[in-house]
């Protein structure tokens, strides 16, 4: 979700509706509106509908649903004398430009629109960067997009002196944020007048020279980036929304000097896509009655797209501001939105079949019942854990943890339970707990090299406990499942020598149990004796499911 802030009264006056109706319409356009304060609305826009990131885009969509205007919003497009020559710019090879005359847009809102496009389709300016200039301050008709040395001087936006590009990169906020995206061999991309005056150094900053202000009505817009489609779409979004405010779009001649792009003569491209959709596809996908919803084209036009009706199909002409429409399924969604999701009656969907539990769930449930029967209370802890608490050093480390407390994935429940017990030493004794859950262990036979392993782990902490206190319940839990275990002495870093056994079934280890070593207890700041057992549930399932 992308959040924008708009002036409440300006927007409601422009639309001529009240706040409640606007909230309702926005809800059905995937958006949420709330009052920020007396004068401002906060609107959350879904990331696919970038056309709604300005009040003009919202206005265009709302007019459609109110049926004041239907079909594509058509804007006046004129030729201009401006030309953009695109040279070889290695870090971001694509650029397009456009002119808009007589746009009637609030300066703050325009800057917000630009920034929101930067953070979404622009991928924080990495993919696309936008420069918006005051057309009247531009002196040459030919503008170039080319690499210039980082020693080149200009006055950056809101600056009061000439600076080299190097200085901009190392001394300004913008330079530090975006400088590293574009500089290559001490060369920087630039939008530059044919007389050598810099208009902007994408994606970092514009020049002070072409600065826009409240009075600016005529705009020159450059868009540069690493993806031609994204650059073209961004420019289309910008000019159509400015045109919706009353502006006229001016075409700029485009010349790719290196012929990287050869089929484009003018920009903005104002891309129109035609999608032909079978009407039955719409009816069947949504599950709606074709007799009740005869006029599919009407719905398309309410969504501000042009539509032509044929016997079996409709032809939708997707306007440049609807870059989210990829193919016919997207048309289906727009029809559903026009009808209103809450007007689609949920159906009673039934297919006659029976559900099945995963076997591991069934086994887990039985073990939990038996564990309660053996008087252990169930606890439930996090899967993520601090790596220093793990005994077995074969564990998964998180490369980008947000906290040292949770920088690894547990590979046993024993440290998890010790951690739990250390926090409960002042509880009423005895403390008898168990947890059943997944740990993650290495396994070369899986496609990720790891797999989840289900464990159930028991612990008793009391003023006095011994081996048999844990062995007895484990023995009878297992034998209740038809498993007669054997116990064989083993070595362990965790348990006291001579008081630790592997639990065996069919000659395979299905668990370990014993008395915890004093040094381990102290490591966890525990001052009372503990006996524990860990059973390998996944292993048990393998052995008992024939």
């Amino acid at each position: 979700m992308v959040t924008i802030i708009l002036n409440k009264n300006k927007l409601l006056n422009k639309l001529g509706i009240d706040g409640n109706l606007l909230e309702n319409i926005l809800f059905n356009l995937k958006s949420e509106m709330k009052m920020l304060d007396e004068n401002n609305l906060e609107i959350e826009i879904n990331a696919d509908r970038l056309d709604l990131l300005s009040s003009d885009g919202i206005s265009r969509a709302v007019k459609g649903l109110l049926e004041r205007e239907l079909g594509e919003a058509k804007y006046k497009v004129v030729d201009t004398d401006f030309k953009l020559i695109i040279h070889n710019v290695r870090s971001r090879p694509y650029a397009l430009a456009a002119v808009v005359y007589n746009a009637n847009i609030d300066l703050q809102e325009l800057i917000q629109f630009q920034e929101k496009l930067h953070s979404t389709i622009g991928r924080k300016r990495k993919k696309v960067a936008i420069g918006i200039h005051d057309l009247n301050k531009i002196d040459t008709k030919i503008i170039e997009y080319k690499e210039i040395p980082t020693t080149y001087k200009f006055i950056p936006l809101n600056g009061n002196r000439e600076m080299t590009i190097d200085e901009v990169i190392y001394q300004t906020e913008q330079g530090k944020l975006y400088g590293k995206l574009s500089i290559f061999d001490n060369l920087s991309p630039s939008i530059i007048q044919s007389d050598g005056q810099v208009l902007s150094i994408p994606p970092i900053i514009n020049s002070e020279k072409s600065k826009i202000d409240e009075r600016t009505k005529n705009f020159f817009i450059d868009v540069t980036g690493t993806s031609f489609d994204a650059v073209a779409q961004t420019l289309d979004l910008l000019v159509t929304n400015l045109a919706e405010s009353g502006g006229t779009i001016g075409k700029v001649k485009i010349e790719y000097e290196n012929k990287r792009v050869s089929n484009v003569d003018y920009s903005p491209l104002l891309v129109h896509k035609t999608i032909s959709v079978n009407k039955n596809y719409i009816y069947n996908t949504l599950g709606i009655d074709k007799d009740k919803e005869k006029d599919i084209c009407k719905h398309i036009m309410r969504m501000r797209m042009d539509c032509e009706e044929y016997s079996a199909n409709i032809k939708v002409i997707v306007p440049p501001y609807r870059i989210d429409i990829i193919n016919s399924i997207d048309i289906v969604e727009d029809v559903a939105m026009s009808i209103g999701y809450n007007n689609l009656i949920p159906s009673k969907y039934l297919i006659s079949n029976y559900g099945n539990y995963d076997y591991i769930t069934l086994l887990e449930r039985r073990i939990r019942e038996l564990s309660i029967g053996a008087n252990f209370i169930e606890i439930f802890n996090f899967v993520l854990i601090k790596e220093s608490k793990l005994f077995d050093k074969k564990y998964i480390k998180i490369l980008n943890p947000i906290s040292e407390e949770y920088n690894a994935v547990r590979n046993s429940l024993i440290p998890v339970l010790l951690d739990f017990l250390s926090k409960n030493q002042h509880a009423k004794f005895p403390v008898r707990v168990f947890e059943i859950g997944d740990v993650v262990i290495k396994d070369n036979t899986t496609d990720t090299g790891y797999r989840n392993d289900k464990r159930v782990t028991y612990a008793i902490m009391d003023s006095r406990v011994s081996y048999e206190d844990i062995q007895a319940p484990i023995h009878y839990i297992l034998s209740s499942m038809g498993i007669t275990p054997n116990y064989i002495e083993t070595n362990s870093d965790i348990f006291i020598e001579g008081r630790v056994a592997n639990v065996l079934y069919k000659n395979q280890a299905i668990g370990i149990l014993g008395e915890i070593k004093p040094e381990i207890l102290l490591k966890f700041d525990i001052e009372y004796p503990i006996v524990m057992a860990e059973l390998y549930v996944t292993k048990i399932m393998e052995l008992i499911r024939v």
Binding site: I326, I377, I379, I398, D447
Partner: protein, 465 residues
């Protein structure tokens, strides 16, 4: 109800009618202190009347005890002289420190004469009357007691005597006991006893009852709901390839949700043998999103950030429709941990693949699931997810919070179904379970779902319905 010992005392009193505490102690073999408390109990119950009396008596002093053992000095003098005269100085040596007492009392009693430095006995042997009295102070002649008192051999003392008088006899006296034992059961001896009364209104001592974990039980309830709706459970591992978490779900590789701070990365790469699947997914990305799709990014490992990764694996296995599966699984996302956020939480993901499945069917299934989860009022909001179209968010109404977003859902995009080779339509959804559990369990801090305080877990009430 009378105790065994109370009955002993009453049995004795039935014979004598009146007695005192000392006598009762002697006759019943109980200690004097038990007798005192028992007769007070019996008095409270109305069986006896108790009277306290102070009695004087004489007891031997330390010297008295000595004289009782050795004899009185004057008697010793007479017996030693044995009827013969003796020089005073010799007698002095013979009697030591008792000399003066012996001479003075022997003279007073007229037993000797003293002439010319010699002591002349008048009798050859003598035992004084007071000496006999030392052995029987209670019955001794009053004059003798006075003499003994004057000589410092006895002293006057006081003692408290509790006089007890039987008022009524118990109608039927049955002894009581505390515990039934095997022995008294088999011997039939139990019939002689009644059971001692307890204070049954008192609260019991601590008892550590074991129970299933409340949140785990909620998750199991969710599974039951899905099974009852005819879904089959599937599970996959926490460690996942980006391919199943993102790529197969049409999420472009430079999508903001794939940025490093939105999921946990793990070292290493996975492997996918199905080359057709890889090619199809590559094609799907490159033709729709216009960028160069990189297999090495898709194979990177992560902790799954959505349980849709599990249903994605089901899709990739190209199952035969109709199919209804679900998973209840844990997912991991970096976030600040607070009362409403955790870095690991559960999702319920569902997938239906069916030839004629419609968007309205999907809405119907979602309504049914939420109804069974106890959310009776829901509304649908158009939404955007890369892998579904049409997409919908389900808002549920909660008493305390109002309308809350609870679920993301939609029909799977045809691009995805084409890539995995499924010809039918498919619907999918993901529901976050922690918030629902909090509402269901009436908990207002998400961290309490994973409380590490045993007392909190012990005290947690069980949801009955």
């Amino acid at each position: 109800m009378l105790s065994e010992n109370e009955i002993k005392i009453l049995d004795f009193l039935k014979i004598v009618k009146r007695s005192n505490s000392e006598e009762i102690a002697n006759k019943t073999g109980l200690s004097i202190s038990s007798v005192l408390s028992l007769i007070n109990l019996l008095a409270e119950k109305g069986y006896v009347r108790v009277e306290k009396k102070v009695e004087e008596y004489y007891a031997l002093t330390e010297e008295g005890k000595k004289r009782k053992n050795e004899g009185l000095p004057e008697d010793i003098l007479i017996n030693k002289l044995n009827g013969k005269e003796e020089e005073i100085n010799n007698v002095k040596t013979m009697l030591g420190e008792d000399f003066n007492i012996a001479i003075s009392w022997a003279k007073k009693k007229g037993l000797i004469d003293i002439k010319k430095g010699k002591i002349i006995p008048k009798v050859s042997s003598h035992v004084s009357e007071e000496y006999y009295a030392l052995f029987n102070l209670e019955n001794a002649n009053k004059n003798l007691i006075e003499v003994l008192e004057r000589r410092g051999l006895v002293e006057k003392r006081e003692k408290i005597i509790i006089l007890v008088e039987l008022l009524k006899e118990p109608e039927e006296i049955t002894p009581t006991i505390s515990n039934i034992t095997h022995e008294i059961l088999v011997s039939g001896e139990w019939k002689r006893y009644k059971f001692k009364k307890y204070n049954v209104a008192a609260f019991p001592p601590f008892f550590p009852i074991s129970k299933k974990h409340y949140f785990k039980e909620f998750l199991e309830k969710v599974k039951d709901i899905m099974i009852n709706l005819g879904f089959t459970e599937v599970n996959t591992g926490y460690v996942e390839m980006e391919f199943y978490n993102f790529d197969i779900l049409f999420q472009p590789q430079d999508h903001p949700a794939r940025e490093i701070h939105d999921s946990f990365s793990i070292e290493g790469i996975g492997k996918i043998d199905n080359q057709d699947l890889l090619n199809n997914v590559k094609k799907m990305h490159e033709s729709s999103w216009k960028y160069e799709w990189k297999q090495e990014i898709a194979l990177r490992l992560m902790l799954r950030s959505q349980s849709t990764a599990t249903t994605a694996r089901v899709l990739a296995s190209k199952p035969n429709p109709p199919l209804k599966v679900f998973t209840v699984g844990k997912v991991f996302r970096p976030d600040a941990i607070d009362a409403t956020h955790l870095i690991e939480f559960h999702q319920l993901d569902g997938l239906i693949i069916d030839d004629n499945f419609t968007f309205r069917d999907l809405l119907g299934v979602l309504r049914e699931i939420f109804y069974r989860l106890g959310i009776r009022e829901i509304k649908f909001k158009p939404a955007y997810f890369p892998f579904t179209e049409p997409s919908v968010e389900v808002y549920g109404y909660l008493e305390k919070l109002g309308w809350v977003e609870m679920c993301g859902a939609g029909l799977l995009r045809p691009e995805i179904l084409n890539a995995v080779g499924i010809k039918s339509r498919a619907g999918a959804w993901g529901i976050g379970l922690e918030r629902l559990a909090m509402s269901f369990l009436n908990i207002n801090d998400i961290r309490l779902l994973y409380s590490n305080n045993i007392e909190y877990i012990r005290e947690m009430k069980v949801n009955l319905w």
